[in-house]
Structures are given as structure tokens and as C-alpha cells.
């Protein structure tokens, strides 16, 4: 029994059917961690991107160094730091929040590069034309550069959303009961790992396919009138 739901081991099929609602409980946690982690990555990435294009190198360099550090160290180390080291300094976060934060921090390094790449891909002639027309820098950014960068940025961010979802099982090591962890516990208690693990793989596959279709849909339906995105 798990999450108050009994499993039925009378046949393999009955077992699979009975543990499905249990796995869905884990799936909810997985999706929550994905979404929270993703939003942290979006916001933090924006901050990093801004810092990395700051006018002074005293801001730029530390920001670049931090990005590099985040990218070049395993997610697990960052997770352990947040979970085990922060409490030593008196800051204890719930396991779920710690996990989501670790995902968000890890992926902010990638999203910041997506933002930067998207903005830099807008032709320099666009900035020059805006300057020649005396458009204010803020107006140029919000109405000339951003609308051309966003259609490039969104699909790339969508791909990272999928990646985050696939990294959520790592949070299991800090006691977050996401879907894969749930499947493992079912295996531990019933002695049958094949079915729960296969089902988790299947659910992941379906989610990834749906997400990929979503990204592709965005890619073709984003407002990019007039933009050629090669």
C-alpha cells in the first residue's frame, strides 16, 4: 500500500493497473517540480543574461564565471549543497523547494544563454535603424529587439522544460517523492521492479512526446509575422 492505495499482485496486468494511480501521485510531484524549477530558471536566467551583458566587466565577469561554474558542475552537487550545506548556515528549505531551486539554478545557466543568443541573433542593422530614427533605447528593446528575439527564444526554452522534467528523478536523493522514486519504492515493497519502472519510462516517453509537439506547435504558431528564423 502506498498513498493509501493498495496494489493487486494477482496478475501482472492487475498489478500494473493497480499501481498506475500511485504513480500518478508521483507524477504530480514530478510536474510540480518541473514547473517550479522552470520558472526559477526563466527568472534567474534573465537576471544572469542581464548581468552578463552589463556595461562593466566587474559585473560581467563574475556573472560569466558563475554561469560557467553552474554548467560545469553536476546537478547533484548543487542539490547537495542546497540540501546539506545551507542548513549549516541556518537556512533550511523544504526538500521539494530545495530540489526545484537546484533545477532552477542549474538551468538558469542554460536559459541565460538562450536569452543572450536570441537577442544577439537580431541583426545589428535593426539597432542601427532604431538609433537612426532616434527611438529611445528602452523602446528599441521592447518594440524592436524583443519581438524579433522571442520567437527564437521560446522554442529553445521549451526544450529545456523537457530536459528539466527528465532531471527531476535526481531530486529523489533528497527525499522528494517524485514518480521514479515512487516506482522504486513500489518495487522495493513488492519485489517487482520491471512493471513500475517500465511504466515510468512509458509515462516519460508520452510526456516528452507531448511536450515536443507543444514546442513544435509554438514554433509554427508564434507571432513572427515577417520574421525569417533561419
Amino acid at each position: 500500500m502506498f498513498f493509501g492505495i493498495e496494489w493487486d499482485t494477482s496478475s501482472q496486468w492487475a498489478f500494473a493497473v493497480s499501481i498506475f494511480p500511485i504513480l500518478l501521485h508521483g507524477l504530480v510531484i514530478t510536474l510540480e517540480a518541473t514547473v517550479v524549477g522552470f520558472f526559477i530558471a526563466l527568472a534567474l536566467g534573465l537576471v544572469l543574461a542581464a548581468l552578463k551583458s552589463a556595461p562593466t566587466r566587474f559585473i560581467r565577469w563574475p556573472a560569466k564565471l558563475l554561469t560557467e561554474f553552474i554548467r560545469d558542475t553536476p546537478l547533484l552537487i548543487q542539490l547537495f549543497f542546497l540540501f546539506y550545506v545551507l542548513p549549516e548556515f541556518g537556512l533550511t528549505l523544504p526538500a521539494f523547494l530545495t530540489g526545484a531551486l537546484a533545477l532552477g539554478v542549474q538551468y538558469s545557466a542554460y536559459t541565460s544563454e538562450v536569452y543572450r543568443g536570441g537577442l544577439e541573433a537580431v541583426a545589428s542593422g535593426q539597432r542601427e535603424a532604431a538609433r537612426a530614427l532616434n527611438l529611445a533605447p528602452a523602446r528599441t528593446f521592447t518594440h524592436i529587439i524583443l519581438p524579433q528575439a522571442i520567437p527564437r527564444i521560446i522554442p529553445a526554452l521549451g526544450n529545456y522544460l523537457v530536459s528539466i522534467m527528465k532531471d527531476v528523478p535526481v531530486l529523489g536523493v533528497v527525499t522528494v517523492l517524485e514518480m521514479l522514486g515512487v516506482a522504486r519504492i513500489i518495487g522495493d515493497r513488492t519485489g517487482g521492479y520491471l512493471i513500475p519502472l517500465t511504466m515510468v519510462g512509458g509515462i516519460y516517453l508520452i510526456l516528452t512526446i507531448i511536450a515536443s509537439l507543444g514546442v513544435r506547435y509554438l514554433d509554427t504558431h508564434l507571432p513572427k509575422r515577417g520574421l525569417s528564423l533561419k
Binding site: 542593422g125 542601427e128 537612426a132 530614427l133 532616434n134 527611438l135 524579433q148 515577417g226 520574421l227
Partner: protein, 271 residues
């Protein structure tokens, strides 16, 4: 206002509208403009010709404040462009001054640089509404008049990529004119166009050249066109004006060997 300012203001009407005073522009070690002296009078139509790398486009880009200078002073309408006065001293200009000075100039780019996510009409109204503070209805009316002038009134609601290169460049010209500049800068406006589309753009520029008050500075490789519309031709070589004069003099009786060689190369490329 101190005395120096008043004297400068008084001299403004007879001054050249554009004056380069020993202007130096470097890209790294490469000297693009080498103590360039260059003047353009109000309403004058001047074409700059010369080999690539001779600093032709740089002159326009400096005037449009897209490229800063390394030394010397540029004056537009008697006011220093890249400097501002502090007492009797010239100091590097701040953004408010550059913004003010920029409003005198309009630029047409080789690659058009239209805003691809905006309709043709919106390309023409964005800056007038945002920068000049003209209300939208008025800006649209004026935009349509300009599109009429360049023969594209029926394309107003299209996006740039739906137009031919020639049409896009005509929109580019209209967009620059919408800001009512005193000086129009054309940076190789037909160089990116298929040959059969060059004529329609040149026709629009030609009609502008008839406007007495508008000062025009044109960088082009269209020599026959330059000869027709220009009051003066300047031949640039290695960051300086090697030779300048009336079109008929430059094209039929160039004095400098460099000018002769250049004109021969561009006018009879088959030899």
C-alpha cells in the same frame, strides 16, 4: 548664453550644414578617415565615390552617430556633432546632445533594415509617434502620403518580406523621410538590389533631389545616376578626398591619376 555662443549662432545661416574638421577615424590600427576636411552646403546634393575601404560609408555612419570619431570635430548646422560646448571648451557629447543632433539626419541603409515584424505603414509611423510625439492618426496620414510618394500606397498593410528589394528600399526612404530630416544620408541604397530593381529606387531618390531645401549625401556605385543628380562629386581614397568637383568635370576630365584609374575601372569594367 556667453558671447562665444552668440557668435556661433549668428554665423549659422551661412555656415555649411555639414563640416568635417580634420576628422580621424580608426578601426584598430586601420585608419579609415585620415584628418578628413569635408563640407556640404545647405541643400547641396553630394555624391561620394571611391574604392571600398576608402571611408565613404564611414562618413555617413559618423553623421548618423552610428560610429564615433577618434579625433577632429564634425559640425552639423554649426553645432558640433560628437562634442558639446562647456564654456568655450569642446567635450565629448552626451546622449541627450546626440539625440538632438540625430533628429536632423535621416539614413537609408544598404540592407534596408526595415523592422520585419511591423507592417510597412507601422515602419513609417513608429518613430514619428514615439519620438516626435505626433498622434497616431496624423502619423498614419503622413505615412500614407509618403507611401504615395514612393508609389507604394497599396502595400501599406503588408510586411517587408512580402515586398521586393526595390519596394523595401523605397519604404526605407519613406521611413527616413517621415522623421522630416534636413539631411538625407544614402548608404549604397541600391547595392543589395537585383539589377532590374535599381531603377525604381533611383527614381525615388531623383525626385527627392529636386527638393531645394533637402541636403543629400549619397554613397553609390551608380555613376551615371550620380552624374545626373549631384551638385558635386567627391572622390575618396584612403580616408581623404582625393579630388572633388562638378560631376561633368570629375567624370569627363578627372585630374588625379587615382580618380582616372577608379573611374576607368568602374565605367569600363570589361577592359
Amino acid at each position: 548664453m556667453n558671447d562665444a555662443t552668440e557668435i556661433r549662432d549668428a554665423g549659422e545661416m551661412s555656415d555649411p550644414i555639414i563640416k568635417f574638421d580634420k576628422v580621424v577615424k580608426r578601426f584598430g590600427d586601420h585608419v579609415v578617415l585620415d584628418e578628413l576636411d569635408f563640407e556640404v552646403q545647405r541643400g547641396e546634393k553630394v555624391t561620394i565615390i571611391g574604392p571600398s575601404g576608402s571611408g565613404k560609408s564611414t562618413v555617413l555612419r559618423i553623421l548618423m552617430t552610428l560610429e564615433p570619431i577618434n579625433d577632429g570635430v564634425v559640425y552639423v548646422g554649426g553645432q558640433p556633432l560628437w562634442h558639446q560646448w562647456r564654456g568655450d571648451e569642446l567635450i565629448p557629447a552626451g546622449e541627450p546632445h546626440l539625440r538632438e543632433m540625430r533628429s536632423h539626419m535621416g539614413m537609408v541603409f544598404q540592407q534596408f533594415n526595415l523592422f520585419p515584424h511591423m507592417t510597412v505603414l507601422r515602419n513609417l509611423t513608429e518613430a514619428p509617434v514615439q519620438v516626435l510625439g505626433i498622434n497616431k492618426a496624423e502619423a498614419k496620414k503622413r505615412g500614407m502620403e509618403l507611401l504615395e510618394m514612393v508609389g507604394l500606397a497599396d502595400q501599406a498593410s503588408k510586411y517587408p518580406h512580402q515586398l521586393s528589394g526595390g519596394q523595401q528600399q523605397r519604404v526605407g526612404i519613406a521611413r527616413a523621410l517621415a522623421m522630416r530630416p534636413k539631411v538625407m544620408l544614402f548608404d549604397e541604397p541600391t547595392s543589395a538590389l537585383d539589377p532590374e530593381l535599381v531603377g525604381e529606387v533611383l527614381n525615388v531618390i531623383r525626385s527627392l533631389a529636386d527638393e531645394h531645401d533637402l541636403t543629400m549625401l549619397l554613397v553609390t556605385h551608380e555613376m551615371h545616376f550620380a552624374r545626373q543628380v549631384s551638385d558635386r562629386i567627391c572622390f575618396f581614397d584612403q580616408g581623404r578626398i582625393k579630388e572633388q568637383g562638378k560631376p561633368e568635370d570629375i567624370f569627363t576630365a578627372p585630374k588625379e591619376e587615382r580618380t582616372k584609374a577608379f573611374l576607368k575601372a568602374v565605367l569600363d569594367p570589361d577592359d
